[in-house]
Symmetry: C3
Subunit: 331 residues, 3 copies
């Protein structure tokens, strides 16, 4: 089973001028526990690689359900995932993971003869492990991390065309006891797009005040990027939270997100800052107009504050114009 | 009150061929303590945004005193800062902080209707907090960090023109007990400039042997950069110093400094290497000629060693030429 | 003495279509201990800077033995290295280290009049130190790190031509007790090359299953890069291994490698994934074809698995074509 499911009732639709708001999560099944269980499970997953409109490609968990990005795949250290990739397209493609263990037959690369030809099916096996003592006081790291998967074969031996056209997704490996989120959002900076979309059509990441929200940020393509989130910050370590009071990790709210890299973190939505339409965007200035979107933190009851609805309308309808400024407060 | 003031007597002028040496600190008031006090103070600050010669803009703490970069703003975790921004220009602009807490009315973005129109005044409120226990052994990070502030409205909804023209500065949030520096320098890599200057007009960061010097490095603009400092290094963590003998952070002397990111660190000037004119520069090679400057470590008595004066003269007068090499020593 | 020597019997030649496979290590002298000794030694090393065919330059430990990259130089915290640089070329050049202590006469820069003129010899002195207690619970970092050295004078005051043409190498400073590797490989991303080579002529990093292999990754030139290694990962901290079970460092298998930066790590070759021809490459997509190579993990007995030999042949002979895919396993 995928563990990428996320709790929370469905929201009323966000009132926007955009035709649709992409969702970035794999499902809405409630979680049964606040922390990650022990590992050791074998997950059997079938993933369908499909051609999409507009020349895109996507991965999906059922025929006709491919999305960009693909579903969030989750494991706990100690788990195994057996992925049967059904290539429904007329192109050679594959699935290649970061962070987990696989032998050469599951590399997903043409170099290791492990791509999937057009119309074919192939099973890839990914293993994970816990950290382990090594020499002296040193430990070998486990598999836990905010990783990702992507094509490594469509159009070139490095999957350059497949990645450009949407064949990518988030892969999370948790350590036993890691804190589980209420909602999850995958944000992929892929050349001058977010999830192959540009503003104002970029995702609205939609949640309620106080929810524990997990971002998985992934870089792809040919360009440098920096991911910035307004009014929220995280520890620049494995989880985004400090591992005790003496963890020396810096807090950041802007982080390099370059091709092939990924990171993740959890924030308590709106904590200390309130609900609102908070921007996320690439901070490279000439990217910041097309590569921006909204992290919508609703009121606790699920309603949208007036100022947030105004901001959404501004973003969608008046993106390059202006509107009357509010009066300063406390000034 | 601003806490950005830094101890130390004024130096005699550095003998250079440049007309002026920019200063990067907000003042010269001596510090009264070696470590950061407890937080909880509310600072009320008025900042003037002004047009400067050559098409630049700057922030300043009094009319007619705007600089590029703006003043160093400092808080301790638990403090609040109320900033009254006086926009003396004929352009819409704002002030947007990284790392701290603010509601949508203090976002500084046109999206949240919180820019300041030409000729207007607006108050922005920034809060900070200490780290706090969360689930399990995890802690939510506090606000402490080497952050920055910048325009988010001049010329575009992301302040692209405002940033390009100088509307940026350092924002430091300390944790109670953090070590205070003797001197501070803000260094901003902004497209192909340092603090909107190019060599040989880049700042000379001027100090004495043994002083605890704090750098706050900020990236802006459209290009990738790496900040390199000769003969000094720091821990790549929150403070630049190790949090005890088992802190796993690497030491670095070259670090990515990309748009919207910032970091800071303290070094003991010249420790183990002696006084001298030490280079700092972007290590991207085609940036390294325009984006280089001098970290001048004087003798303890404030005099400048002959070799350092020769290096400064070389930098300013013969920047693209050569001069006689010293003999090797010990060879 | 250099400590860059690495244990291990010579391998039989890898069967490839390439004329030669560059080696990245300085020697093959067996190590005598599993962990780094105490520091305090003074190393006296003579390095020859030489012109090479094809317009390249290299550093070497004996006349006529210059390589690109240069030899791995190693120290333990507390050691000193006195490097006599013999400039056998007709160009001004130098050697400039990262991470260690040196006075202005050993800066290696024209700014500090410490380059070496054509045909001349000059001695550079590098010191190292252990971490030391500072104020409060803070410690000053020691010199330990995966650093590098490079020219700072050929063709420009920043050595831009010297670096472009091959004057660079790895410099390791270990902390007493650090774990020593069985093999070492230097990988330099220098503009659109790896060690000034492009695929399929990039190095094959050659080892046996289970060996402790150390990579030293260095960035140079003008472009952004990310270093990705298939099927292996490391902790993103000083050593690549966790400093105990609560080390908060993330595990990574893809890391920014930008000009002037460096990092290193150790992996147990093939652990959990088996032998094979594992790719390493820049993950910036348009770099990934020229900037890829093979990390060859042989069987424990030194033989090459058939699938690995097939992958090597594919890489060298059919790099832009295709070959029959293996059947999926377990599917």
């Amino acid at each position: 089973m995928l563990a990428g499911a996320v709790a929370g009732a469905a929201f009323p639709a966000v009132a926007t001028t955009a035709a649709s708001v992409p969702t970035a999560t794999a499902g809405t099944v409630p979680r049964t526990s606040g922390t990650a269980r022990a590992g050791g499970t074998t997950h059997q997953v079938t993933i369908y690689a499909e051609a999409l409109p507009n020349g895109l490609y996507g991965y999906g968990l059922a025929p006709g359900e491919a999305t960009v990005p693909g579903p969030i795949l989750e494991m706990i250290e100690g788990d195994t995932m057996e992925i049967t990739l059904v290539n429904t397209t007329d192109q050679r493609l594959s699935i290649h993971p970061h962070g987990v263990d696989y032998d050469v037959h599951s590399d997903g690369s043409p170099l290791n003869a492990s791509a999937t030809e057009a119309g074919q099916t192939r099973t890839y096996v990914w293993h994970t492990r816990e950290k382990a003592p090594s020499t002296g006081r040193m430990w070998l790291p486990g598999s836990a991390g905010y990783w990702h998967y992507h094509d490594h074969a469509l159009g070139s031996d490095h999957g350059t065309d497949g990645i450009a056209k949407g064949l990518y997704g988030a892969l999370i490996v948790r350590r036993k006891g890691d804190v589980l989120p209420d909602r999850q959002f995958t944000v992929v900076f892929n050349d001058m797009t977010i999830n192959n979309l540009t503003a104002p059509d970029t995702p609205i990441f939609d949640c309620r005040l106080g929810e524990r929200v997990e971002f998985i940020a992934i870089g792809h393509g040919n360009m440098e990027h920096t991911f910035h989130l307004h009014a929220h910050r995280w520890a620049d370590n494995r989880t985004g939270m400090l591992e005790g009071p003496n963890d020396p990790s810096p807090a950041v709210d802007n982080k390099d997100l370059n091709p092939g890299s990924s990171f993740g973190f959890q924030v308590l939505a709106g904590e200390g800052v309130g609900p609102g339409a908070w921007m996320y965007h690439c901070h490279v200035q000439f990217h910041s107009d097309p590569m921006s979107g909204i992290f919508l933190v609703r009121n606790e009851d699920g309603t949208i504050p007036d100022h947030a609805q105004e901001a959404i309308d501004y973003f969608h309808g008046h993106h390059h114009g202006g509107h009357d400024e509010h009066e300063g407060h406390g000034g």
